[in-house]
């Protein structure tokens, strides 16, 4: 019996197993994309290459106990919806702003991984002249790409009439692969440099 992906491509379990073996031999084994980016950001700050932080998760605080000022304890709180992306900062004098997502899919990045407010925010950053992008990791391939936000926006706006995902091939063609390095393991600013140098833009822009 032959399994096929929605795009008609044949499912190849052997290739998949090999990819998984490759992934497990890499130093980032077991580390999430978020952890990798945090390590990269620490490195960038230490080496004075960039100043980029992940924003704290927004929390709605309801009740707090104050047994002592130094140990105020939150006893009731809820997660709030963020209104922006997770990361921002400054690189080479430029404002940068991005989100990072992992997908277990092999051949596309599903748009359901992205929220409306993130797309709106990235659009606002583009309008202001900032560098707005997405970091996307295909976990089964152990490959991480950076794409400009305008590519995301384009697929997002067309998702009701066209496909609800960005094809892997489009990301490869219009994005930049984050190289594997020892330190940091996920040097995503290298991929940003590549995008800037090659002036890669989204297909219709």
């Amino acid at each position: 019996m032959v399994f096929k992906y929605p795009n008609g491509q044949e499912y190849k379990p052997q290739a998949l197993v090999q990819r998984k073996l490759q992934a497990s031999s890499q130093s980032r084994r077991g580390m999430s994309l978020e952890a990798d980016i945090n390590v990269a950001n620490e490195y960038y700050r230490k080496e004075k290459i960039a100043v980029i932080y992940k924003k704290p998760t927004p929390i709605q605080i309801v009740d707090v106990d104050y047994p002592a000022r130094s140990a105020a304890r939150i006893t009731k709180a809820f997660f709030r919806q963020a209104s922006t992306t997770d990361y921002n900062g400054i690189y080479q004098g430029k404002y940068i702003d991005f989100d990072a997502k992992e997908t277990g899919n092999l051949n596309s990045f599903p748009l359901k991984n992205v929220h409306e407010h993130q797309v709106t925010h990235l659009q606002a950053i583009m309008e202001q002249g900032g560098l707005a992008f997405m970091i996307i990791r295909f976990t089964q391939r152990s490959e991480t790409y950076v794409i400009w936000a305008n590519l995301l926006v384009e697929f997002w706006q067309n998702q009701n009439v066209e496909r609800k995902s960005i094809p892997y091939k489009t990301i490869v063609d219009h994005g930049a692969l984050v190289p594997n390095k020892l330190q940091p393991t996920t040097p995503y600013l290298d991929a940003i440099d590549t995008l800037i140098q090659t002036e890669k833009r989204s297909p219709n822009l």
Copy 2:
């Protein structure tokens, strides 16, 4: 009996009363500097002048109840020390980063209102070519100023051998007054424009 300020200036209760009356007649009556800045940021985003947000307060979450996925409830958490300033974003294509502080003092801004990590972070932003500054409100005067971070850094680094505060006069001379407007009430980017246009720098830079 005559009261005098540490700098020898005479205490004038009448002037103070008048200032308070002025303050209470303004539309920002009862609003904190933080609330004013949030209103300004909303206005700037709506008018596509800038995209600036206050960062969420960092919280260390210890226990969470999951009665239902949509209503995850945090039952034990603690406030964490922030490693950056409270605000950042993009204005006219430039990365901007700042903190905002109020003081009840009349004639100086005490450096104890500022934390070491905030100064370190603002220095890192300056090194990267970003616009780093402080918004300081003298609540008794109902006056709000913007100063470049290098003025703050200079006084911060000398506080063990010199004074532990920035004189009001220094802030007036080297900073820019935020004008009073109807919308937004605290248009602090107007003061940034003034600082950029007049190329005001800190005394020794």
